[in-house]
């Protein structure tokens, strides 16, 4: 087996995550799908690191994790405050910008 299969898997996971973002309405699930996409990217980075024989890819994946953690913290805070005021976690309900 060639490590390139990890890349195929990462692509597949990324696509599934993206589709989830498009399909689901629950903001929390939506965030989970974003996390899935980030993880797929991380897998690709790690695989690239292995293919290239250096650790830079792992470093990038590490930073991605940190950024994802920050993003989750802020995102969930937003979800909580939205939920508090609107009593709904559906992203479709937050469609006040339309004409």
């Amino acid at each position: 087996m060639n490590p390139v299969y990890y890349l195929y898997l990462a692509s597949l996971l990324f696509t599934i995550g993206a589709a989830g973002v498009l399909i689901r309405r629950n903001a929390i699930v939506l965030f989970m799908c974003v996390e899935l996409m980030l993880n797929a990217c991380n897998l690709a980075f790690v695989t690239f690191a292995r293919m290239h024989g250096n650790l830079d890819g792992q470093i990038i994946a590490f930073f991605t994790m940190v950024v994802a953690a920050a993003e989750v913290v802020v995102g969930l805070a937003i979800i909580v405050s939205v939920f508090r005021s609107r009593h709904s976690a559906s992203v479709d309900d937050a469609s006040l910008m339309k004409l």
């Binding site: 390139v4 898997l9 929390i28 292995r50 953690a69 969930l76």
Partner: protein, 341 residues
């Protein structure tokens, strides 16, 4: 657990150097059977295939990861989605280990699966764990467009990867020679030090941001203890502390109401929430029946008879409680007889 162990072994065999730090020692202790493949991988700098073990592990765990991902997006309840995602993440952690990223594998488990997913679950609980989403699409054409874009994107991505010439790979033998964590540390604190510092700032900002977002400004002054006490006295409702639940120390559970002197349960002794949920156990009848049985046995031993009703009423001691105690005692007696039959 078998899968995890296997993956660690595969990771060690495929990418790790023998002198690697904690993960590699862990893997060596777990799987000595893969020693031959480990040595073979060390000799080749640029390989085109990995070990068979890793391939097997990939196909099994890859399937699990995809199923987890699909579960994430298809489960109706958010908590199920979160669990599915956690599974996928653990699988990914194994794949990180297999790819020689020992530090990241552990971080994945600790940070992602441990911290972030728990945060998700926490928010899910906060929002409502039982709420199930409707999977019926409300935006016209959204699902079709999503499917079209997803399929197109995936096909293009996979086609692009297939198109690239990635037949051979270097492996991390050289890079991990001084230990994976040491290697990462060397890079983070030299080459990527600025990015690291900025990331730290980002995390602080995120923490502050989360606090700001969820913070509620107090709109009125907090009442002092004294004010609360005065308010309570003026309202005139239940000045002393509420009576404790439980009956004569026979029961100290909070879901059992305490009995008044005449044997009736007191509403005040139990928590309102439990009462609202209907989770209060009404064991006063048993207790009274037990009490009555005890009294009867002592009467029999003492040669006294026919004074059970008075015995039941005696603890109340008050003239007002007499009739009530009698009726209660009667009902208990009936129940006691039924139990005996």
């Amino acid at each position: 657990m078998i899968a995890l162990a296997g993956s660690l072994a595969a990771a060690a065999s495929s990418a790790a150097a023998p002198t690697a730090a904690a993960p590699s020692s862990l893997s060596s202790s777990l799987s000595t059977s893969f020693h031959s493949s480990l040595t073979s991988s060390l000799t080749s700098v640029a390989a085109s295939t990995t070990s068979t073990g890793e391939a097997v592990q990939f196909w099994i765990l890859g399937t699990v990861a995809v199923l987890g991902a699909l579960g994430t997006i298809l489960m109706k309840r958010a908590v199920h989605s979160a669990l599915c995602l956690a599974g996928t993440m653990i699988v990914l952690a194994v794949f990180y280990l297999a790819n020689g990223a020992y530090f990241l594998g552990v971080v994945q488990v600790v940070v992602y699966t441990g911290a972030i997913m728990m945060l998700f679950l926490f928010v899910v609980m906060l929002v409502g764990v039982t709420a199930a989403d409707s999977l019926k699409e409300t935006i016209k054409g959204q699902r079709w467009l999503a499917a079209l874009c997803g399929v197109g994107f995936g096909v293009l991505l996979i086609a692009g990867i297939g198109h690239a010439s990635l037949n051979s790979f270097n492996g991390l033998g050289q890079a991990n020679a001084g230990g994976n964590v040491q290697g990462l540390a060397a890079l983070i604190f030299t080459k990527y030090v600025f990015a690291f510092e900025i990331t730290g700032a980002l995390l602080i900002t995120a923490a502050v941001g989360a606090m700001v977002l969820t913070h509620r400004e107090r709109t009125e002054r907090l009442k002092t203890q004294r004010e609360l006490a005065q308010e309570r006295v003026r309202a005139g409702v239940q000045l002393p502390p509420l009576p404790a639940p439980g009956v004569y120390a026979r029961h100290n559970a909070v879901d059992i109401a305490g009995l008044l002197p005449d044997g009736t349960p007191s509403e005040l002794t139990v928590n309102k929430t439990l009462k609202g949920r209907g989770q209060i156990r009404d064991v006063s009848n048993e207790a009274i029946a037990d009490l009555r049985a005890l009294e009867q046995r002592s009467n029999e031993r003492l040669g006294r008879a026919g004074r059970a009703g008075g015995g039941a009423g005696r603890p109340g001691g008050g003239p007002a409680g007499g009739s009530a105690g009698g009726s209660a005692g009667g009902s208990v007696r009936d129940k006691g007889e039924e139990i005996k039959r």
